[in-house]
């Protein structure tokens, strides 16, 4: 029983972090039909920067998200205005090619400047745990999950309680309707892309503590994140949440009762089964036109 509770608790902690990482990806797809496969590279880039800053200053890597999140917001905004805007209105395949190019550029630059070997930030609490009854929760995972939930909560508030968020949701639901009420599609697109990459700011800082990484780790991360949003339904934030929790639980349950090497396979098997029954994912809509008219 204790082992089961322990496994579920760890799965939920990991799921919370995955939810944040996937939220940015699904948000950008939902609003712009852009599949940002550079999201994994953004995570690794920020993990590397966080690791470096932690090495130089000793500042807490997760708290460094306070700097890396706005940094990624700015970088995302610039990238959109300078590069991504050029594939706006084309097919998602074009956006994948472009963002894959961005990912390869980041990987190459990291290889050149930081070298091709594993790193991990290990703050003082790295090996410590909270004990709740007989359940052991590693401090790093608890702090990481709390930071992720905080940012997800902020994202929820921005999307639901501010005019900026309403404009973003309106554009996602009905772009021509949004234009009719005076919402500037290009501003909303730049802002959404920036918010999407900003989540990789927090996500990357958390990643630097929870997972060892090296420049090419981004392939593994983007595969995971795409898996989550395909399972949840492309473009659905709620779907990203549920997909992330399922991935977190699948990983910990398989690792506990089977072997860690089967964890990824189990998750993809779940995706396969869900897509057999619901081809558009758990919370996906068939076509935007279906609901817009």
């Amino acid at each position: 029983m204790t082992q089961a509770l322990q496994t579920i608790a760890l799965g939920l902690l990991i799921g919370g972090v995955y939810a944040l990482m996937a939220a940015g990806l699904t948000l950008v797809f939902g609003i712009m039909n852009i599949v940002n496969v550079a999201q994994g590279a953004f995570l690794v880039l920020i993990a590397m920067l966080t690791w470096k800053a932690w090495q130089l200053t000793g500042l807490d890597p997760i708290l460094l998200a306070l700097a890396t999140t706005p940094l990624m917001f700015g970088l995302g905004w610039l990238l959109y205005r300078l590069v991504v805007v050029r594939v706006r209105g084309t097919t998602p395949a074009m956006s994948m090619l472009l963002t894959f190019g961005i990912a390869l550029t980041i990987e190459g630059l990291l290889n050149l400047t930081a070298g091709n070997y594993f790193r991990s930030a290990t703050p003082s609490y790295f090996a410590q745990s909270f004990h709740i009854g007989s359940i052991v929760l590693p401090k790093a995972q608890v702090y990481g999950c709390l930071a992720a939930l905080l940012v997800l909560g902020l994202l929820y508030l921005v999307l639901n309680r501010t005019w900026t968020g309403r404009a973003i949701r309106a554009t996602a639901q009905n772009p021509s309707g949004a234009a009719l009420v005076g919402i500037s599609a290009s501003s909303v697109a730049a802002l959404s892309f920036a918010i999407g990459t900003a989540t990789a700011g927090t996500g990357g800082s958390i990643l630097s503590v929870l997972y060892p990484f090296f420049p090419a780790s981004h392939y593994e991360w983007i595969a995971r994140l795409l898996g989550i949003i395909v399972l949840g339904g492309m473009g659905s934030l709620r779907g990203a949440w549920v997909g992330a929790i399922i991935l977190g639980l699948a990983e910990t349950i398989t690792a506990t009762y089977g072997s860690p090497r089967w964890a990824t396979l189990v998750f993809y098997a779940v995706i396969l089964l869900v897509l057999l029954v619901r081809p558009h994912g758990l919370f996906g809509t068939r076509l935007r036109e279906d609901v817009a008219t």
Partner: protein, 240 residues
């Protein structure tokens, strides 16, 4: 006065509007009639800034608006209600209507005042503010769309086939709203396939053919014009 002069516009495959001249009398309801493909909806898209004319000018009260973006045209007081769904399906009725006031979002008091005024005009908005727009019937959506377009208190309202796909009861509710707009001194430019309904709501009529204005006059003049019957028949022929 809303004026279009020598307007040429299209969607890339040749011009739909081919030298259109049109003057819309202030505080009138003008109904644009014509067979399918005459360019009626294109006129509305050009006025609202959603489609840039290749040639010619559009002006409102002497000021050119043909080079403005759609949000800029909206801020000049021209609102459009398009033919197909313009609502945000996963937002509530209230949120949808409030989004109509996006350009005055920082003036909270004014926004609430406008919302109350619109809810008075469109009872559905007052009765079901929390209902998701995606769950409304076609007629109800139309009422919310029209209500939303009034949030900026526009001087000119462009309505594209407001009766399309509606049952008779919804049509009379939409007709009552249009009559209300006329009484409050709004200028309405209306595209309508239902000729009898369109002209009965209007003070003026415009008949288009081949991207140009064929006839222009008061609603009575258009109704009584001998050519109208043949043009109507033209519109009713398949692929006409």
């Amino acid at each position: 006065m809303l004026t279009l002069k020598d307007v040429h516009a299209g969607y890339g495959g040749g011009d739909v509007l081919q030298g259109l001249d049109l003057s819309v009398v202030p505080e009138s309801v003008t109904c644009v009639l014509g067979p399918n493909g005459a360019g009626k909806s294109t006129v509305l898209r050009v006025v609202s800034g959603l489609l840039k004319p290749r040639q010619g000018t559009v002006s409102l009260a002497g000021e050119r608006i043909d080079r403005l973006t759609a949000p800029q045209v909206l801020s000049k007081g021209i609102a459009q209600v398009p033919q197909t769904g313009a609502l945000f399906p996963r937002m509530s009725v209230r949120e949808n209507v409030l989004m109509g006031g996006y350009l005055i979002r920082r003036q909270r008091k004014l926004l609430e005042e406008r919302y109350s005024a619109v809810a008075d005009l469109v009872p559905l908005i007052a009765e079901r503010p929390g209902a998701p727009a995606g769950n409304l019937s076609g007629g109800q959506r139309r009422m919310v769309e029209i209500g939303r377009s009034l949030m900026l208190d526009p001087s000119v309202i462009l309505l594209d086939e407001p009766s399309l796909g509606l049952d008779p009861r919804s049509i009379s509710a939409v007709a009552a709203l249009i009559n209300g707009m006329r009484e409050r001194g709004k200028t309405v430019l209306l595209v309508e396939q239902n000729v009898r309904l369109g002209l009965s709501l209007s003070t003026h009529g415009v008949v288009m053919e081949g991207g140009r204005v064929r006839l222009h006059g008061t609603a009575e003049e258009i109704t009584d014009h001998p050519e109208i019957a043949s043009l109507y028949l033209g519109a009713l022929e398949p692929n006409g």
